[in-house]
Subunit: 364 residues, 2 copies
């Protein structure tokens, strides 16, 4: 019987969550909200769907060491390092090669490592439904999130009314994928009711993915044919060399652009679980418990005469805010960031600034 | 020939400069502005007037260890620990006892440890002029600072037109000492032109001080008679016991209240040196170099899109402010303070708050 797999894409350069995240410790390795790192929480959710032997992680060299230490429950060979960051297109093609080497008719989910999901039962039910339909039909499943506000930072998916029914769920045919829209457009999408957020969660059978890549992204697919051969041959050195060669060939492209916007067999399952990408310190802060004045603190923080602040500090280090409101303070042993909550999307500019300091790389 | 002495009062609970200052490291042991700690800068200035053998420091038990380490150039017995903090009245009486034991007709200056003075030559000239007049005449000299703004945090001295001339300088008879005034009153004082700030710098002959205490503060004087006897006997244990007994007897009172407001032989010398008590983080920050946007940084600080900030951080720890203006950030290895510059006078309330935390004393 064909098997199910999960491939977790654990990339990121650690910029939006500086100074707590660094190049060697991107967002999914942060332990700020929930229990354990976001990656550990993702692994716990996934473990209810597939066994560790069928759980793979694709990551980058800078964070490999920290990531391996964070995943003691996974077989070492299930953590695969990309020779270069080339966005999700090549990562998904690599995921396909890895799964095909284990089961040429396997079904697999591509999942981000660093999202916040609390309803793990609904998450499991949705994933299992997606696995079932992908195993049975030639469809490329995207899990869609019902938009709660006109966010401009996500891509949107417009569904059709036509759907594939399976296991009591409706998988809607996809009309189109839309890039991050301007605010006015995002408002229209939310009002329309037939748009969903694209959160980067996909499920498909590896042979169906391969056929779709063959049709819509032949160069991307071709770059990974030698990787498949090397995986079949089974020598670690051969695989590494093939990977280096493949990543020299491929362009930097998302799987949305490379494949999904062109494919005609896409379907979307509206997710029934809560979901947040917690993509900034302000967003992450909303998952911390609030005091009556709306201050949210992880660690030893004290707010005097102030409301709506977010403090993230290691235990044993006290951060005291006097007369400050709606600010974010992130404290680490060698770097501190202070900003209004409304500037949380601009942390990358701080990282760029710090990088230009003499010896600035010590803080990256 | 009678000798000159300097007695530096190095007290303080380290509250206004938390978190960098602590109970064991009050303001005068901070190394933020100028070269070395404020105490070291005071000692360097004083060394141009009297030799180290004639320089004494009166301090408290909590900071004794750090203070002794900070003053390797002073004879160990010149650092004297008060058994309890009782304001400047008892400290000056103790200073008198210590000087009298060395020279019953010695002249001594009482100087704070933690002020900022840059014009060391004028400082020396003013002190030497004060020493000269105090050695020659039965006057109690206060150095007065010409007010530059209607500060409400200092006491004021109203001078008369009558003066004592000595060494080409005029020492004005004092009409009265005034407590920290409300703003409207302070404005009147500054406009009037015959008011000076009382910065706690005094010069007198020890026998003249003793006579004045005998007249105006007999209980305070009496409490220290056994200390004088013990100092004459010369056993360390006897001195310590006498000190403990004296400090049990005396009330908490400033030398202004206890003596100077009542004395009729007070004179004031308008100081010719620059002076700042740098009594808050905002005031201290003004002595740091400013960038074109008026940001003042000690250590590794970075300001992006912000003006008028003060950052104090240890080297190696970067503090990044994004979109913040007119804020003070003080960073230490175990505590961080963030506040608007306008709240810098209220740091004591933060200390009180931190003290009430579970295990809050670790940060004091």
């Amino acid at each position: 019987m064909p098997q199910s797999f999960v491939v977790i894409i654990a990339g990121g350069r650690g910029e939006r969550f500086w100074p707590l995240s660094r190049r060697a410790r991107p967002k999914h390795l942060l332990d700020v909200v929930g229990s354990g790192t976001l990656l550990a929480q993702t692994l716990r959710r996934v473990a209810r769907v597939v066994p560790p032997a069928n759980t793979l992680i694709i990551t980058g060299a800078e964070q490999e060491r920290a990531l391996r230490a964070a995943c003691p429950g996974l077989p070492a060979q299930n953590i695969v390092v990309e020779p270069a960051a080339r966005n999700t297109g090549p990562a998904v093609a690599l995921a396909g090669a890895l799964v095909a080497a284990r089961d040429p008719q396997g079904t697999f989910a591509v999942l981000p490592a660093d999202h916040v999901v609390n309803d793990v039962s609904a998450y499991r039910r949705d994933l299992e439904a997606a696995f079932a339909v992908a195993a049975a039909k030639d469809v490329l499943v995207t899990l869609g999130i019902r938009p709660t506000s006109p966010v401009t930072g996500f891509g949107y998916i417009r569904r059709r009314d036509r759907s594939v029914r399976a296991g009591g769920r409706r998988f809607f045919r996809i009309d189109r994928f839309v890039e991050k829209p301007p605010l006015a457009v995002a408002r229209r999408y939310v009002a329309a009711g037939d748009y969903l957020w694209n959160a980067g969660m996909f499920v498909w059978r590896v042979d169906h993915l391969d056929a779709a890549l063959h049709t819509h992204a032949p160069e991307l697919r071709a770059a990974f044919v030698p990787v498949r051969a090397a995986l079949a041959a089974g020598t670690e050195r051969g695989v590494k060399a093939a990977l280096r060669a493949a990543y020299r060939r491929v362009e930097r492209i998302s799987i949305d652009h490379a494949l999904l916007e062109k494919a005609t067999n896409g379907v979307v399952l509206p997710a029934t679980f809560d979901w947040d990408d917690a993509g900034s310190w302000a967003a992450m802060g909303r998952h911390l418990p609030a005091d009556p004045a709306g201050n949210r603190v992880s660690g030893d923080g004290v707010v005097i005469d102030g409301a709506g602040n977010v403090i993230v500090s290691p235990p044993g280090h006290v951060v005291a805010l006097l007369g400050m409101s709606d600010c974010v303070v992130v404290q680490t042993p060698d770097a501190t960031l202070v900003m209004p909550r409304g500037r949380a999307e601009d942390v990358r500019s701080v990282v760029a600034h710090v990088e230009r300091l003499p010896a600035g790389r010590r803080w990256l």
